[in-house]
């Protein structure tokens, strides 16, 4: 791909907050009827006033610190004036001059090596409502609006145009998501928790802004579509115009949205209903609460547990997975844990679209201990993991129920058989006399002792061999006598 330049504006909901950014309506609206989580403030009713959620500011500062940003001394909210049916006040309370943080960075591991993606700014704003189009956006005769989402705290992270491929854009989003989840400010599993505006231009041409892409995969798809579209225009000798486009997730295409205001039309001015916020004196306290971040954890895992960097990279990709690993690695061998969690368990979880909370670390410890003691084979262990995920149950039960113990070697089964013979001389005597019931009895005893992990034929062979030896001994004794 030649000279592709991509910049992202990522909007993430600070959805670990209990209440919205400027009112106390609950953020837990995902399973609710439309328009049941609103109030005069987030419906923009005449006369209602916003009051800032202090924890939202703290969470935004946390993110800014984690993204290595410069934290400003103070910050304030602005009104961004534009119209859209999802916007209740005809303006969005956002930030403009004096955003909460500027000049940060995220380092990415790409196919071309490590790259630093610069973060231009991080700012807070309120989420608009949700538009439901009846059919597709360009064919719909009317729209339906649910304002449950209206007023939820959003964090906008704006990158410099440092991304070069749609895949890099996706890697960036994954990394950002990872950091936000470590900070405990973001739950990416909730619908609508992330929306991206992507700016893209090719070979020095004009840029298109694709608005409101609402999934990680969508970003990559929309950008790939745009590259093809813009390349086709250039090939046909048509100039790419600077414009705003909408990404239609269902059809996988972008379409022009001509009636939206441009940056110069927003008439930003300080929100007169809110007062300035001094952040510099909050930063030190918040710094103390910052958790270990993914990159640091990855380094520590390699150093502390002696596991490979590749395993560490997989393990830190989700905070839950990293914690799971640490719990298991304190009980059993860290390298074995890393291999089984990163290579096997993670794959089985991905295959089933489950996350790590679907598996108990205690079960993992038991499985690994059995592997260490050779009371289960590697194949058996994989089967136990699959069974737990698909049907539930505990490792020991599953091993028993499915007969997953390894087949015993000849030596081990020989020893057990000899012990059974020694302990049951009468039965053995009968067996030597050719009594069938005695053979069944001895076989039962051996199977019981070995949990059924020996072949019947092997046992019969051993019994016959012992019978032969006994008869031989008897005749020798007879000769000597």
């Amino acid at each position: 791909m030649k000279d592709v330049i991509i910049g992202l504006e990522v909007h993430v909901q600070l959805n670990k907050l209990r209440s919205k950014l400027f009112c106390s309506c609950s953020t837990q609206y995902h399973d609710s009827e439309p328009d049941t989580h609103t109030c005069p403030v987030c419906l923009g009713l005449p006369g209602a006033l916003p009051v800032t959620n202090g924890k939202a500011v703290d969470n935004a500062i946390k993110v800014a610190l984690a993204l290595n940003c410069n934290i400003e001394e103070w910050t304030m909210f602005y009104r961004k004036n534009y119209y859209y049916p999802d916007l209740v006040k005809g303006f969005q309370i956002s930030q403009y001059d004096y955003p909460i943080a500027t000049n940060g960075s995220i380092s990415l591991e790409t196919e071309g090596g490590e790259r630093t993606i610069r973060i231009k700014r991080v700012h807070m704003e309120e989420d608009p409502g949700r538009l439901v189009h009846v059919g597709t956006i360009d064919k719909s005769k009317y729209s339906l609006i649910d304002y449950n989402r209206s007023g939820v705290a959003l964090l906008e992270v704006v990158t410099e145009p440092d991304l070069r491929t749609p895949k890099e854009a996706r890697l960036f989003l994954n990394k950002l998501k990872n950091i936000l989840e470590y900070l405990d400010v973001f739950d990416s599993s909730l619908e609508g928790s992330l929306r991206v505006d992507a700016n893209i231009s090719i070979a020095g041409g004009k840029r298109a802004e694709i608005k409101n892409i609402s999934s990680y995969k969508g970003v990559e798809k929309a950008l790939l579509f745009e590259i093809v579209r813009q390349n086709n225009l250039v090939r046909r000798g048509v100039k790419v115009v600077q414009e705003t486009r909408h990404f239609d997730e269902v059809r996988g295409i972008t379409i022009s949205l001509r009636t939206k205001e441009g940056e110069e039309d927003y008439r930003y001015f300080p929100e007169p209903d809110l007062v300035p916020i001094t952040i510099v004196d909050r930063v030190d306290d918040i710094k103390k609460t910052l958790p270990e971040l993914p990159d640091a954890k990855r380094q520590r895992f390699v150093l502390q547990y002696g596991i490979s960097d590749n395993h560490a990279k997989v393990l830190i990709s989700e905070l839950g997975l990293a914690n799971f690993f640490e719990t298991v690695a304190t009980e059993v061998d860290a390298n074995l844990s890393a291999t089984w969690i990163a290579d096997v368990l993670k794959g089985e979880l991905n295959y089933r679209d489950l996350d790590i909370s679907a598996f108990s670390p205690g079960h993992m410890v038991q499985i690994l201990q059995m592997l260490k003691k050779d009371t289960i084979t590697e194949n058996g262990a994989v089967q136990v993991i699959r069974t737990i995920l698909d049907e539930g149950g505990t490792p020991l039960d599953i091993v028993e129920r499915k007969g997953l113990q390894p087949k015993m070697g000849a030596e081990a089964s020989g020893n057990i058989t000899l012990r059974v013979i020694e302990e049951n001389p009468d039965a053995f005597q009968d067996f030597c006399k050719g009594k069938n019931e005695a053979m069944h009895f001895l076989m039962g005893q051996v199977m019981k002792e070995t949990h059924g992990t020996v072949d019947r034929s092997t046992v019969i062979e051993l019994l016959n061999k012992s019978k032969k030896e006994k008869l031989q001994n008897a005749s020798d004794n007879h000769r000597e006598a």
Partner: protein
């Protein structure tokens, strides 16, 4: 009609219900057009409740009129604009909650200039209110309905809102007392915003004592308004006639060009009367006064252009028959729903906030505001109150000025600097020009409502 008089009536056996009935009877036969929506059912119900259980609270059983820009649960609130026709708020403004808690009886909503943009109450979609002293004249604005209702004896108390003089101007034109509190003293929660950084809800009454009482009820901290602060005293308790410690400043700029001679004379008469009662005065200067109007209108229009964007007919208010695409639908609703003055101010405010003009207009106006605020702070260092005419002239005729927007803006010359500085100010009647009342404006330090109320009270007692 005043609060003491009504309490006496109650003591003499008149029921609240009878009083409320007689008030509605009077309003329904009134020529003033002071009320635009009556809350007859809820008022009578509340009256009967008070009759049954006794008048409790600071305003037990006292009727009050509410400007139509203040949100009242279950009672239509339109800001006298067609665009809000039929809007019935699901919530009460903070001041309404306070009034209800103190037992007041809400009679209805009073007329105003559309979205409080005016000086005459002529731009209301319900038609103009008439001045009780002369029915062919305006009551002032924008809270003209509230002032006329009190002056016309329809209610003893009323609430207005004052963005650039909208309480004091009609108080002056109608010969009643009206107060604009310090910015932040009264919660704006539930006041439909015109210009957020300038406006306050303020009380109207026939006398200073009732204004102090009403201020006691509505003032104080409200966590729902980020610009609200905790009040420092009980205003009614602080009222006394002694003004011997009061130092009056008289700013020459407020007695300048365009001030009616009779008005000037009456206000000087007021200052002399206070001097007779022991106050002292000095002439002072507020040098940036001449920039107030331009700064005020730029700030007010800019904020208004954003505040009024929300009226798109989706969630409430006017919606035209068949929808088209969203842009056309919104544009046609606003074209039909807003009156001409409102459109003019929205367009100007939109221009003043535009990229490339923000620095020249809005930001510059905010800087000039700093200078004006400093003028007041320094003038009020050596004085405790400033006295000026409230309005440059008495009430004008309906229709006389409505054709010239700029000329009408200039009428606010003495009231807007107070909103820019955020200081409190009260207008008290101080005489007549013919049969038309004249208002004297007493301005105080931030949160020193007690002193301006006391000065006004002493003056009022002296007049009687």
């Amino acid at each position: 009609m005043n609060v003491d008089g009504i309490r006496e009536m109650f003591q003499n056996g008149k029921s609240v219900e009878e009083l409320v009935h007689s008030i509605f009877d009077k309003i329904e036969h009134s020529k003033l057009n002071a009320f635009v929506t009556l809350a007859k059912e809820s008022a009578l119900e509340e009256a009967r409740r008070v009759d049954k259980h006794g008048a409790k609270g600071m305003l037990g059983g006292i009727p009050i009129g509410i400007k139509d820009s203040i949100s009242t649960k279950g009672i239509q609130t339109t800001c006298c604009s067609k665009i809000l026709e039929g809007y019935i708020p699901p919530y009460d403004a903070h001041v309404i909650e306070r009034l209800k808690a103190e037992g007041a009886i809400i009679i209805g909503k009073t007329n105003m200039d559309e979205f409080a943009m005016g000086t005459s109450t002529e731009t209301s979609c319900f038609g103009p209110t008439r001045n009780p002293w002369d029915l062919i004249r305006v009551p002032g604005g924008s809270s003209g309905g509230s002032a006329a209702a009190v002056a016309g004896g329809e209610v003893p108390l009323a609430l207005g809102s004052d963005t650039g003089g909208s309480v004091r101007c009609p108080a002056s034109f109608c010969g009643v007392v009206g107060l604009k509190p310090t910015y932040g003293l009264v919660s704006r929660y539930g006041l439909v915003a015109y210009a957020n950084s300038l406006e306050q809800i303020g009380p109207f009454a026939g006398n200073v004592k009732d204004v102090a009482l009403l201020l006691d009820v509505i003032s104080g901290y409200d966590p729902r308004d980020s610009t609200s602060v905790t009040k420092k005293c009980e205003y009614l308790k602080e009222l006394r006639e002694d003004v011997s410690d009061v130092k009056i400043g008289v700013p020459g700029e407020f007695f300048g060009e365009g001030i009616d001679e009779k008005v000037e004379k009456a206000v000087w008469g007021g200052i002399k009367a206070l001097e007779d009662r022991g106050a002292s005065y000095t002439e002072i200067s507020l040098p940036h006064t001449k920039y107030s109007l331009a700064a005020y209108y730029i700030i007010a229009m800019s904020e208004a252009s954003s505040n009024l964007a929300r009226f798109d007919g989706l969630r409430y208010g006017l919606r035209l028959g068949k929808d088209k695409d969203w842009h056309t639908t919104f544009s046609e609703i606003k074209a039909q729903g807003f009156g001409e003055e409102v459109k003019r101010r929205i367009l100007l405010g939109t221009y003043a906030l535009s990229a490339g003009y923000y620095g020249k207009y809005y930001l510059k106006a905010l800087k000039v505001r700093t200078l004006i605020k400093r003028d007041f702070e320094s003038a009020l260092k050596d004085t405790n109150v400033l006295i000026t005419p409230t309005m440059p002239f008495p009430a004008f005729k309906i229709g006389e000025k409505i054709g010239e927007p700029l000329a009408l803006y200039l009428a606010d010359v003495n009231t807007v600097p107070i909103n820019l500085a955020g200081v409190p100010s009260i207008s008290v009647p101080c005489g007549f020009a013919g049969k038309l009342p004249i208002g004297m404006q007493i301005i105080g330090r931030h949160f020193d409502e007690a002193t301006i109320l006391r000065t006004a009270y002493a003056f009022e007692r002296g007049m009687k």
